[in-house]
């Protein structure tokens, strides 16, 4: 019987451990955080006060134990000894494995501004980060969020809901530039403003100011934004240090094949630390899919991993922002639906009458349908005119 060690108790690691245990393997799940595995994706809801902390937990200690998973919380793996097939931990010594699953996730990027390590500057990544943000927000005050991507905006919205005056600094000329075009980003800026969140585009942060605690952010153009809290959400970096040190093949992430095996057939990598065919995923859905694949592979059933189209969703005060596939190809055909006044915007990208990307602002309930169309790659000539109006409509008008 194989002994499986899963390093990293985030969503992908926990899912993989659970599946393997369910198939009768002895599984040890090692997590650096002291908390039980929780739903990292739901942190923004917690920050926004839409759910309680308890709702975040995905696995109780007992449930993991019942499932046959041995969970070592607050334990850090310091090295992988591939020769002896074991991992070395900071507080549980060496743990042997017959198969190792790396689900190390990623590390938020901390830009090296002067003052970036002052107290009051948080990365928006862990439950602890969010606890600190909530604590700070209790006193109201001002927050500056550096980074106008998905995470930064979720942080900004949560903090605004908790009563802080929030500014978002974004280095490029539109929010969420990887998911949104100008028009949609503009709508989003307006929508945020309606919730008291100011957006500063093409903003270059110069220093984070403060003595014992952050008190302002200074921009290159001289603007000074007072701040009681600075959230840095400028991106993530796959966590690959352990793998690299162990001599596994690593580019941006740990290189894996279709079975999620690394260059060492005994070692698997999944989630944000893994790189499959040049792609490092940054979303939870593919991470779960990889966890499932790795669990099957270890059990001996070789299903190849087929990446689904990534979709990004953001929900701000009842307005959704959703995008999937390619959204910024200058040579693609576009269908744009624009009802700015009603806060509705849709952009669909097509090539050869096949949907290759979609961006929704406002009502995003059709997102999964568009996602399936992008993945399915069907010719849409007949239904093209109905596409912008969503699944129910397009299906009802079908002959």
């Amino acid at each position: 019987m194989h002994r499986i060690v899963v390093v990293g108790a985030g969503p992908a690691g926990a899912r993989c451990a659970e599946r393997l245990a369910g198939r009768g393997f002895a599984v040890t799940l090692i997590g650096a955080e002291r908390d039980m595995p929780y739903d990292r994706v739901a942190l923004s809801k917690f920050l926004a006060g839409e759910i309680l902390e308890a709702d975040l937990l995905t696995h109780e200690t007992t449930s993991l134990k019942d499932a046959g998973v041995s969970h070592l919380a607050g334990t850090r793996v310091v090295a992988i000894d591939r020769e002896q097939s074991r991992v070395l931990t900071d507080n549980h010594g060496a743990i042997g494995y017959s198969r190792l699953v790396l689900a190390l996730g990623s590390t938020p990027v901390r830009l090296p501004f002067p003052g970036a390590d002052l107290p009051g500057v948080v990365m928006y990544r862990t439950l602890d980060d969010v606890r600190l943000m909530i604590e700070t927000a209790r006193a109201g005050g001002r927050a500056v969020v550096i980074g106008g991507g998905l995470l930064g905006l979720e942080a900004a919205y949560g903090l605004a809901k908790r009563g802080m005056t929030v500014s978002v600094l974004h280095a490029v000329d539109r929010l969420m530039e990887r998911q949104l075009d100008h028009a949609a980003a503009c709508l989003l800026t307006q929508r945020l403003a309606r919730h008291g969140i100011a957006t500063h585009l093409t903003a270059k942060t110069e220093t984070i100011e403060g003595d014992a605690h952050v008190n302002a952010v200074r921009l290159a153009d001289g603007t000074v934004l007072p701040a009681d809290l600075v959230v840095m959400a400028v991106g993530i970096r796959p966590e690959t240090a352990l793998a690299k040190a162990a001599g596994l093949d690593v580019k941006r992430g740990v290189l894996v094949d279709d079975t999620m095996a690394s260059s060492d057939p005994k070692v698997f990598a999944i989630g944000e630390c893994a790189e499959h065919e040049g792609v490092v995923c940054g979303l939870v859905a593919p991470a779960y899919a990889q966890a499932e694949i790795a669990a099957w592979s270890i059990a001996g059933a070789l299903f190849g991993y087929r990446p689904e189209t990534d979709a990004t969703a953001l929900k701000v005060a009842g307005t959704g922002v959703w995008s999937a596939g390619q959204i910024d190809l200058p040579d693609a055909e576009t269908i744009v639906y624009d009802d700015t006044e009603a806060g509705e915007y849709r952009k669909l990208l097509l090539r050869d009458d096949r949907l290759i990307g979609a961006m929704l602002f406002g009502d995003t309930s059709d997102g999964p349908w568009y996602q399936s169309l992008i993945s399915g790659g069907l010719q849409l000539r007949a239904t093209r005119a109905a596409l912008p109006f969503g699944a129910a409509f397009a299906l009802s008008t079908r002959d």
């Binding site: 576009t334 269908i335 744009v336 624009d338 009802d339 009603a342 097509l350 005119a385 109006f389």
Partner: protein, 910 residues
């Protein structure tokens, strides 16, 4: 100035008995005016023409009374002026022109829309006091061949029969008449009669399989222009099978032998006739046999006969078969000309055509001129007839006529060679236009515009196709400063120094004069005699019930019918059977112009749409001008696409204008595949104008050939070719205002309902700039948009405070545009629901049935409801009517109901 308003008790709110202003059936109407300037309209159950029935157009009269677009004040050079100034200017202009260039340098062009009194005044003014024969009427386009044919055969323009004959006959032959659409009430009377006597047969002779054919026992789809051959062949057959009424022929006719000899030479038998007409010989034989075997037979004919370069011969060929068999002037038997206009007959009675005098007095009879001159105390009558319509506008074009007064008609659109007519009016020194409509293709060209009273305001009489004179009464106050046409004419005449002859103070005065003239020097020499009516008091005139002429002052009450026992007007004594050698139409088709264009009416429109174009209900049936073509002739041209129709250049057939100078006419219309059309023929409606669809005006294409006897233009035979209109985009704009007809190369505009205007568009340039340009018409505005440039799809909607103000849909292909009905309905929401707003640019509701254009216009019943009724077990048109009300008012959709019924029942699984 005489400004006594012609108000009567009519305005008090009691229903007023009047007559419909549309076709020549002359239905009685009950109009109950309301406080808002409108009126409730119903058929008059006591009127002998319709006994309470009305067609779709008549039923919708209440929707056409708004003052929108009315000419309300006199204008000179498009600037408002007062009546005195305007009338002075007309009088001075006519007087100066005559002084310098003689009486034949002026002209009047008038209309079958005029009341008899107006008509009489115009004719008296022109012939008696201006001293010119240059007065012609748009009836030239309608009835001139019937008039000429009647005169040649009977010696006088007489319709021998009555509507009752259509019900009493055992066989009715409808020739060149889409009766179901153009004279719907008569058609309903015919169908009702056949319902009671199923043995009665209906034959339709028409190159098109029209709605009329749906109720017919036999359809003879003859080649356009071959009617003479048909009736010539029939004449031979009747003679050969012994159907000749030898006694009648001997006692009452002349010329039978010659007519038969000519006929026999060209169409010796049914086979030869079938060949000449290009129809199945078996059909021809059936028709001949039925006709020969049926003594009670009526041949009813209309524009398909008249509007032809051999129109008069066609009329005589028809009359000949009735004379040969003595089937004329008897209950249920006779030739029957049915007129297109409400008062074409009145115009014929007053003689307001260039080649007649008045009251059936004739130019070619010296006694008549003396009678008339004496009666009128006129300074002198013109020695010769004036210019007939087509010729008249050529004379205007080349400067022989320098001043023209156009009254109640729209020649810039309705005449053939319409582009030339327009040019002529642009060049003319003085164009006076009396109209109720401010903007028409012709009023635009008027230097002096005089506001005329419209239907509902004016007061007088009309005569329908069965010689019944009915009062048309006012039930609304005159709009603005509008005045009766007779009043304007009298005012101008007085200013020109003819006060004594134009002292009338009411239409009754004029009617009495007209009635008296009909008896002047008559002594039985003219059958048109209404002299008994000359003694009417004003009160009797006001109360006059529908009255059939003749009504001579003395003698016994005459028979309702003429000629049953001969009795032709004394000057000839006998009817003349005119030989009718068959002639081909003026212009043959050719390899370059292989198709024959026929023009005509559609069910729910009237003339140039100045009235029916106000009714959204009436426009729903055909919102745009459609060119119907057999699918085999359409070839690559798709149903619903736009096509250009082009005719050869230089078609002027007479010496009055140099040939070869006529501009090439083209028009752009929406193509409709219609398997009911004869291969080689296409059909276009004649209604659309600059106001509604400049590109779709068909008359610039129509050749200006005309009949040598009647001068009636050949509107039913122009060789044309078709080509795809090179549209880069198609689209429509719905908006709360009429944005005009210059939005795109092809624009058709129409009211979709009381608040929404529909603009159908197509352009030859790029779609995206047009999309931007059209939105700019609304200034700075935030539109919701859907752009799919790669598909050529652009859609936008303008919503202000939640209410839809405009929507614009553009597409490469017209068939991918949504139906307009749901979008139109969205305009009525004060605030669009979020759900409707989301679906707006999809052009259809998220769920539920799609609104559709009605089949039954009167009750607004669509095809879906009708199909549901059929599915639920309705197997007859009557059952559909009971279930849905469709077809239960005017009945003009019954042919379509029958088609739907047959289609759906046939596709039902066995």
């Amino acid at each position: 100035m005489d400004f006594s308003p012609p108000m009567t008790d009519a305005m008090a709110g009691e229903p007023v008995r009047t007559t419909c202003p549309y076709c020549g059936v002359g239905c009685g109407v009950l109009a109950q005016s309301d406080s808002a300037g409108g009126a409730a309209i119903a058929g008059d159950p006591l009127h002998p023409a319709n006994f309470g029935r009305l067609c779709s157009k008549g039923s919708a009269l209440g929707e056409t009374l708004s003052l929108d677009g009315r000419l309300l004040h006199p204008e000179i050079d498009a600037k408002r002026t007062d009546w005195n100034t305007a009338l002075d200017a007309v009088a001075a202009g006519f007087a100066a022109t005559i002084a310098e260039h003689g009486p034949d340098s002026v002209a009047l062009y008038v209309s079958g829309q005029l009341l008899t009194e107006d008509y009489y005044a115009a004719n008296k003014f022109a012939k008696g006091f201006l001293g010119t024969g240059n007065i012609d009427s748009n009836s030239r386009l309608c009835m001139a061949s019937a008039v000429a044919g009647h005169k040649r055969a009977f010696g006088e323009d007489i319709v021998p029969g009555t509507y009752e004959d259509l019900e009493l006959c055992d066989l009715i032959v409808l020739v060149g008449s889409n009766t179901a659409w153009c004279h719907p009430v008569l058609y309903q009377r015919i169908l009702a009669a056949r319902e009671l006597r199923p043995a009665m047969k209906i034959v339709v002779v028409d190159p098109r399989r029209t709605a009329t054919c749906e109720g017919a026992d036999l359809h003879l789809p003859i080649a356009p222009g071959t009617d003479v051959a048909l009736f010539s062949g029939l004449l031979v057959h009747l003679a050969d099978v012994g159907a000749t009424d030898s006694r009648y022929v001997a006692d009452a006719t002349t010329g039978a032998a010659d007519a038969l000899a000519i006929a026999r030479a060209q169409t010796p038998d049914a086979m030869a006739t079938a060949k000449a007409c290009d129809v199945d010989p078996a059909l021809m034989r059936s028709f001949f046999e039925w006709f020969a075997a049926t003594p009670r037979v009526v041949t009813m004919f209309s524009q398909g006969v008249n509007q032809s370069s051999s129109g008069t011969d066609k009329v005589n060929a028809i009359i000949n078969v009735h004379l040969l068999t003595g089937r004329i002037g008897k209950p249920g038997a006779g030739p029957f000309s049915v007129t297109g206009q409400p008062n074409a007959m009145g115009g014929r009675e007053v003689g307001a055509l260039a080649n007649t005098l008045a009251c059936h007095l004739e130019f070619n009879r010296p006694d008549d001129a003396r009678t008339l001159q004496a009666f009128w105390s006129a300074p002198g009558l013109p020695a010769k007839p004036g210019h007939a319509a087509v010729d008249l506008f050529r004379a205007i074009g080349d400067g022989r006529v320098r001043a023209v007064w156009i009254i109640a008609t729209n020649p810039a659109i309705s005449l053939p060679e319409a582009a030339g007519v327009r040019q002529a009016l642009q060049r003319c020194n003085l164009v006076v236009v009396s109209e109720c409509v401010r903007d028409s293709d012709t009023t635009d060209l008027g230097k002096i515009r005089l506001p005329a009273e419209a239907w509902g305001e004016k007061d007088g009489t009309v005569t329908n196709s069965e010689r019944v004179i009915s009062r048309q009464r006012a039930f609304l106050p005159a709009a603005g400063e509008a005045r009766p046409d007779w009043w304007m004419i009298a005012q101008v005449a007085r200013r020109m120094g003819f006060s004594d002859a134009f002292r009338w103070t009411s239409p009754a005065d004029i009617f009495r004069e007209h009635a008296a003239l009909s008896g002047a020097g008559n002594n039985g020499s003219r059958l048109f005699d209404i002299s008994r009516l000359a003694a009417m008091t004003n009160a009797e005139y006001d109360a006059m019930a529908p009255t059939r002429w003749p009504c001579p002052a003395t003698g016994a009450a005459p028979d309702a019918r003429f000629f049953g026992a001969g009795g032709f007007p004394p000057r000839t004594g006998r009817a003349n059977m005119v030989p009718t050698p068959s002639r081909p139409p003026f212009q043959p088709t050719s390899a370059a112009f292989p198709l024959v264009l026929m023009t005509g009416r559609i069910r729910d429109q009237w003339h140039t749409m100045t009235r029916t174009g106000k009714s959204p209900r009436l426009l729903a049936h055909q919102p745009e001008p459609m060119l119907s073509v057999h699918p085999d002739d359409a070839q690559a041209l798709a149903d619903g696409s736009l096509v250009t129709v082009a005719a050869p250049t230089g078609t002027a057939p007479t010496g009055t204008a140099p040939t070869g100078t006529t501009p090439a006419g083209i028009a752009t219309l929406r193509l409709r595949h219609d398997p009911g059309l004869r291969r080689g023929s296409v059909f276009a409606p004649m209604h659309w104008t600059d106001r509604f669809c400049p590109a779709g005006r068909i008359n610039p294409v129509v050749n200006a050939a005309f009949d040598p006897f009647s001068f009636q233009p050949e509107l039913k035979h122009t060789p044309v070719r078709l080509a795809a209109f090179p549209a880069q985009w198609h689209g429509f704009l719905l908006a709360r205002h009429n944005h005009g007809t210059d939005l795109a190369e092809y624009t058709a505009v129409l009211p979709a309902n009381d608040t929404v205007w529909r603009h159908e568009l197509a352009g030859t340039g790029a779609a995206e700039p047009a999309f931007g340009r059209l939105r700019e018409k609304f200034g700075e505005a935030a539109w919701m948009k859907l752009n799919d440039p790669a598909s050529g799809l652009f859609r936008a909607a303008l919503i202000v405070d939640g209410a839809l103000q405009a929507c614009l849909f553009i597409s490469k292909d017209p068939s991918s545009l949504p139906l307009r009905e749901w979008l139109v309905a969205c305009f009525s929401s004060p605030v669009l629901t979020p759900r409707d707003r989301r679906m707006l640019l999809a052009g259809r509701p998220a769920e539920g049935p799609m609104p559709e254009a009605p089949v039954c216009v009167c009750h607004g019943v669509g095809a879906t409801a009708i199909a549901a009724a059929i599915a639920a077990g309705s197997t007859t048109v009557a059952a559909i009517g009971a279930a849905t009300r469709a077809g239960t008012n005017c009945g003009s959709c019954k042919p379509e109901l029958r088609t739907l019924l047959h289609g759906l029942l046939q596709t039902e699984p066995a």
